[in-house]
Subunit: 334 residues, 2 copies
DNA sequence: CTGAAAGCGCTAACAA
DNA sequence: TTGTTAGCGCTTTCAG
């Protein structure tokens, strides 16, 4: 068994309160007794039991991070940002990985309840009204990253605007036959693809380019499915000269297909993605960078702030979007 | 403030012990009182405080996972495996992400000490003798994944054998000018590249192929650095006809360079990687699959076992290796 | 500056 | 079957 505060107190011939004071750097201890305590601690190789401390103080120094199974690079990148920011704090992170809606709802409920964690960070999982209400009422500060609810603090991206930027970029290059390839829009677990699609439509409209329904394709997520969808798009009688993909992984899937079909990018086909994951850099993919890493860091910052003093109205932070032009888009020739 | 067990007891007109019994499904409670307690719990919306429970039982139902910053896909994949297995248990996971040796040593020390976690999982971070000794002595069961120490439980890969398999595969295809590209071997944070290199050497020797020092290149990790190293290798007077990369990311870097130099893979150059990350599949890369996901799952299984009953001698599990032949290797022609 | 003592909310003997 | 009580190891009043 590990030594307790009582063992230290006995050894140093002081009361346990004094030991506690020394541990917590409470100033009201004479240099003499402090030293006695410190040597006792040293000799016993004592460390305070964090659980006991937690029960006593009511703080766990832990924040819970609820995140979709690490299936997408963007979650991982956000998580890295969370880690980065958390590393500089005194908090630890418990990872709650959700694989399905049931998990999600359970975690949402559990964590907001009892004092397992001091704060909650939710990544890319929008809560419904009832859940948001619950979080708002709870004693546990909660911050959403890449999700929005008016009742809660959040760090977000303007997906509509991003979609618009991407599409506008293609239009600026002279493209008018612009495809849109994304995850299913109909029943969105997370609505970002839908918003990006709205941005796409908006840009077309603003530039008086008629929307062609056949240029839009949606389906299951992932690089493989994107390849397949790209094949369909590119097999059309009059295929698009540029494609905006709902995310970078799908954009890379399009590049795969283009190579397979010997369609040269960017001379014959322009492709733009969305997210700004690392693979986009490696692939030389033009994309809309939504600063994933930063979103994690900002989420933590916001949460730490809430932890210090609960704000009365939920803070909201919009991250900037940046068009990163690389080598998969270029002016339409002819 | 949340209701406590005492509030429930009062409301149900029973003692707190009875409430505790109901909570913990202890059978010795009459159906009648049980119901009374349950309705009281319902009405108060009570949940037991986990921290108090932890202090009382000595169990935290938490396992600590120490892992290098999620810089490499292989760590992430292992982590996914850990999550998968942990999801079926009653344990949660605290993620300790180490960015440098100091972090690592701190976490090693902290976690093995006090009862913050019930068990420890260490991914790809070999402890030194003193640290291993510490873990072995500690009350906290510890399992290494992708790392070995005789004193500790571990789930491992035979990197030497894997290196041999990869090289032998190339030899079987008729290659004799076989390059080896990897991370720095000299001061390995983790020795896997070195072991794989040993396997490479072994295969050459066994097949009476003289080792050519100029065909070996090592440097910083990452796809970009691999590209650069590949350029050097391929710019030689007599370049290798096949390259074995220390890991899949580096192999993909080689493919990047090959494309850049218009060297066709696999007709002009064969490339084999190591790990079996998802990108290998997407890239159609031939590789040695070391079952990363499974390593995480097995690590958890082993740890859960230890949690039930500490084994007297450290369990060790070697994962199988599998050559996955895809489209980046083929017989040497001419 | 220091110690005694009362909790934090729960579990688990021990009695009844 | 149930209630009382003594901890778990710490922090924090409250006296002194």
């Amino acid at each position: 068994m590990s030594p307790t505060i009582r063992d230290v107190a006995k050894k140093a011939n002081v009361g346990i309160a004094t030991v506690s004071r020394v541990i917590n750097n409470n100033t009201s201890v004479s240099a003499e007794t402090r030293n006695a305590v410190l040597t006792a601690i040293e000799e016993l190789d004592y460390t305070p039991n964090p659980i006991a401390r937690q029960l006593s103080t009511g703080r766990t120094l832990t924040i819970g991070v609820i995140v979709p199974n690490l299936t997408s690079p963007s979650y991982v990148e956000r998580l890295r940002g969370v880690q980065t920011a958390l590393a500089e704090s005194e908090y630890h992170m418990v990872l709650y990985s959700v694989g399905n809606p049931v998990d999600r709802d359970n975690y949402f409920k559990e964590l907001s309840r009892n004092g397992l964690v001091d704060g909650i960070l939710i990544i890319s999982l929008p809560p419904n009204d009832a859940q948001a209400e619950r979080f708002a009422q709870s004693d546990v500060p909660t911050v959403l990253i890449d999700a929005y609810h008016e009742q809660l603090c959040s760090v977000l991206t303007d997906d509509v605007k991003g979609g618009e930027m991407a599409t506008q970029h293609l239009i600026d290059l002279g493209h008018t036959k612009i495809g849109f390839l994304s995850e299913t829009l109909e029943t969105p677990f997370h609505p970002s693809s839908y918003y990006r699609y709205q941005g796409y439509r908006k840009a077309l409209t603003e530039n008086n380019i008629p929307f062609d329904e056949t240029y839009r394709i949606s389906g299951a997520s992932g690089r493989m499915h994107a390849r397949e969808m790209a094949r369909q798009l590119l097999a059309m009688q009059i295929p698009p000269s540029a494609i905006f993909a709902g995310n970078d992984i799908q954009a890379i899937g399009i590049l795969d297909t283009a190579r397979e079909l010997q369609i040269e990018v960017p001379s014959e086909l322009s492709v733009i993605g969305f997210d700004g994951i690392r693979d986009a850099e490696y692939t030389n993919l033009t994309t809309i960078d939504q600063h994933l890493h930063e979103s994690g860091e900002e989420g933590v910052k916001m949460l730490l702030q809430e932890l210090e003093s609960l704000s009365d109205s939920p803070a909201q932070k919009r991250l900037a979007l940046k068009l990163v032009q690389r080598n998969t888009t270029r002016p339409l020739i002819g």
